[in-house]
């Protein structure tokens, strides 16, 4: 952090200023002039929270994508299909058993198995051939998409939120001040907050596992130099299979989350593949903290954009990507 400030004093000042403005916008009671200019604070706060929670969902999808790429240089453009498959499994299990938690478990395990099959049957045969992997996974995603359309039809499905998660919760954030001097607090859906906390926990657990455990050390060593790691006697193919299973399983979990937040339907696979592409391009390919930062930025930009400049919301996301590419082509938090 201090090195960042030393090396890019102006940029860190800009970032600090942006964070300060955002914090003020969230915490302070808005003066009337501001409310007239950009609308009510409640709308703004809702957009910010939606953006942050959407960022959590993007992180779940993108972290698996970036993990697989980071370690194995495997370009899995069928990652969106894994997300959608997880969503359908989640829907199926939760309607069949009525258990929301079970839906997550089943989605993780089944999608992880698909991931293992992908790694063993497809990627192992074309290691180091980026473009062939891309082509093959594009072909696979077309096949998967059509198989899922065959099995589940074109309907929208929504995973049922359990009863204890339904309903709003009052947050200690003021949205407005009544004329009587009484503060109005923000109401926000509890389900989204819980799911967001879940994704933060998963993210922190992943970071700890990667940075504080032996397996994580092996994985990080594999990212840096695969051949030397293999030469030290580590069964690298086994590590690959495990990481692929984890990455795919995360996409499966994200599918259930997406099915709870929004809905599951054909076409979501491409949407989330593109979202994870943009997130990891912004954050830096192969970096878990990068995926977290990228997901937060893209989620916030999408939601704030769709509230304040609805026509150009997608352009804002895209502009962020262009800006990052222009200033730091390797991504914000990439090491290289």
């Amino acid at each position: 952090m201090s090195r960042l400030i030393e090396r890019h004093p102006i940029w860190s000042l800009v970032i600090l200023l942006a964070i300060a403005i955002l914090a003020w916008l969230i915490l302070a009671v808005w003066p009337p002039g501001l409310e007239e200019a950009i609308g009510r604070k409640k709308v703004f706060l809702n957009a910010v929270f939606n953006g942050i929670t959407l960022g959590g969902l993007y992180f779940l999808v993108a972290s698996g994508f970036t993990l697989i790429f980071g370690l194995m240089r495997n370009v899995n453009l069928a990652h969106g299909s894994l997300y959608l498959f997880g969503g359908y499994i989640g829907y199926g299990i939760s309607t069949a058993t009525g258990s929301w938690i079970l839906a997550f478990l089943a989605a993780f395990v089944l999608v992880a198995i698909v991931g293992v099959l992908l790694q063993v049957l497809v990627f192992r045969r074309m290691e180091g051939q980026d473009l062939r992997q891309t082509m093959v996974t594009i072909g696979l995603s077309i096949v998967f998409a059509d198989l899922m359309l065959w099995a589940f039809g074109g309907d929208f499905y929504q995973v049922q939120t359990p009863a204890w998660l339904i309903g709003p919760i009052q947050l200690p954030l003021m949205t407005a001040m009544k004329s009587s001097g009484e503060a109005v607090f923000l109401q926000y859906p509890l389900g989204r907050l819980v799911i967001f906390c879940g994704s933060v926990v998963i993210g922190v657990a992943m970071w700890l596992a990667l940075n504080r455990t032996r397996v994580g050390m092996i994985v990080r060593a594999g990212v840096d130099d695969r051949d030397i790691l293999a030469a030290t006697g580590v069964q690298i193919q086994l590590v690959f299979v495990l990481v692929f299973a984890l990455g795919a399983g995360l996409a499966g979990i994200a599918g259930v989350v997406g099915g709870t937040f929004q809905s599951i339907s054909p076409g979501e696979d491409t949407r989330f593949l593109l979202a994870s592409l943009v997130v990891v391009i912004v954050g830096g390919m192969g970096s878990i903290p990068g995926a977290a930062l990228g997901a937060l930025i893209i989620g916030l930009a999408e939601q704030l954009g769709s509230v304040y400049i609805p026509t150009y919301a997608i352009v804002v996301t895209f502009l962020i990507m262009v800006l990052v590419l222009a200033l730091r082509p390797q991504g914000l938090l990439a090491r290289r």
Partner: protein, 362 residues
């Protein structure tokens, strides 16, 4: 590693410079290619309106758009997924500047003003996208161009002022010159054929011209080319601009063909279709995209009947396409052309060559 290098490595052609002549598999070297050209010329005598436009016309348009991808990927080593987006942009610009049913959007320029304007803007768009994409390599290029394509699709879907949202722009007027309505089947077919032939020859010519050779040098070894004093990025961006011109021509023909354009025609799936067309046909030679487009259009048109006849759901057309694409990428990285060439070589040498082995090398 570029696709073409992979294809050559698999063919065992990296042995020496002697066999590394530009792989231009031109019409003139193939006796039966003249027969195909003649057949295309007299096609209106044989085929009825449906076949003429729906099969051959669409094939040539799709092939031309895929040709622009082939040019970038085959000679420049840059796989761009935004070529359909450039084509769609040109189509939209024709609709916006020209005459259409949406009088509040279209400016109503005559075709000879609107079309060049659309092409110029498409070239600018392609060059800008290219300038962004050349900052990256290989898989990143695919991702960024895919992201550009997706952004354009969502933008057209949301923007009502220029692109008229998800309804798109309808009843786009087509040119009348010399008293001929160029959208009449036969006239339009010859127009498409002429444009396709022009683009094909331009790519063929450019692949042997100094610019094309430099581009292939950049593809094979950018650092050496930079050391020789070539501006690597400028060559790449120029390649994007040229490809955008070809794609733009295809897009203009496309919008004249359907007389309308909507976000659905620039959707992400369509962008990927272009990649499929180019790869299935063969991405190392200019004729590949046209072969791929023919296969694609035939499948798209007749797969439904075929599937129903075999007793399957006719809606599984995309499954068929996907499986066919997978098979091609698994067994021959330079598509149908590559399969044909290998088969022909085997016949000529009359010795059993190792069947394209080494999938797992590396």
């Amino acid at each position: 590693m570029s696709l073409i290098q992979e294809a050559r490595a698999r063919d065992g052609m990296l042995a020496g410079d002697a066999v590394r002549q530009p792989a231009v598999w031109s019409v003139t070297e193939q006796p039966w290619a003249w027969a195909v050209a003649a057949l295309l010329l007299i096609m209106p005598l044989i085929a009825n309106g449906f076949f003429l436009i729906e099969i051959f016309g669409t094939t040539l348009i799709l092939g031309t758009i895929a040709l622009s991808l082939m040019f970038l990927a085959g000679y420049g080593g840059m796989v761009s997924l935004m070529q359909l987006t450039v084509a769609g942009f040109a189509g939209y610009m024709v609709a916006v500047f020209g005459v259409s049913g949406n009088a509040n959007i279209s400016l109503g320029w005559p075709w000879w003003l609107a079309t060049p304007m659309a092409l110029v803007l498409a070239v600018l768009f392609g060059a800008l996208g290219g300038a962004l994409a050349v900052r990256t390599e290989g898989i990143y290029t695919i991702m960024i161009t895919l992201a550009i394509g997706a952004a354009f699709y969502y933008f057209t879907n949301q923007n009502w002022a220029i692109f008229n949202g998800h309804t798109g722009i309808n009843t786009v007027a087509t040119p009348h010159i010399l008293g001929i309505d160029w959208r009449m089947d036969i006239a339009f077919y010859y127009l498409i054929l002429a444009v396709a032939a022009l683009c094909y020859c331009a790519v063929l010519y450019l692949s042997r011209a100094p610019f094309g050779l430099a581009l292939q040098g950049v593809r094979d070894n950018p650092r050496r080319m930079a050391a020789l004093g070539f501006n690597v990025n400028a060559h790449r961006i120029a390649a994007y601009a040229f490809a955008a011109l070809i794609a733009g021509l295809g897009g203009v023909l496309q919008v004249w063909n359907y007389r309308q354009i909507s976000p659905g025609s620039v959707a992400v799936e369509r962008c990927i279709d272009i990649l499929i067309v180019a790869v299935v046909g063969g991405i190392t030679r200019p004729v590949g995209p046209y072969i791929g487009a023919f296969i694609f259009v035939m499948l798209r048109t007749f797969a439904l009947d075929f599937l129903v006849k075999v007793g399957l759901d006719g809606n599984r057309f995309r499954l068929l396409i996907g499986l066919g694409f997978l098979a091609i990428v698994f067994w021959s990285s330079d598509g149908v052309i590559g399969l044909y060439e290998r088969w022909r070589k085997r016949g000529q040498l009359a010795e059993p060559r190792k069947p394209s082995g080494g999938h797992g090398h590396g």
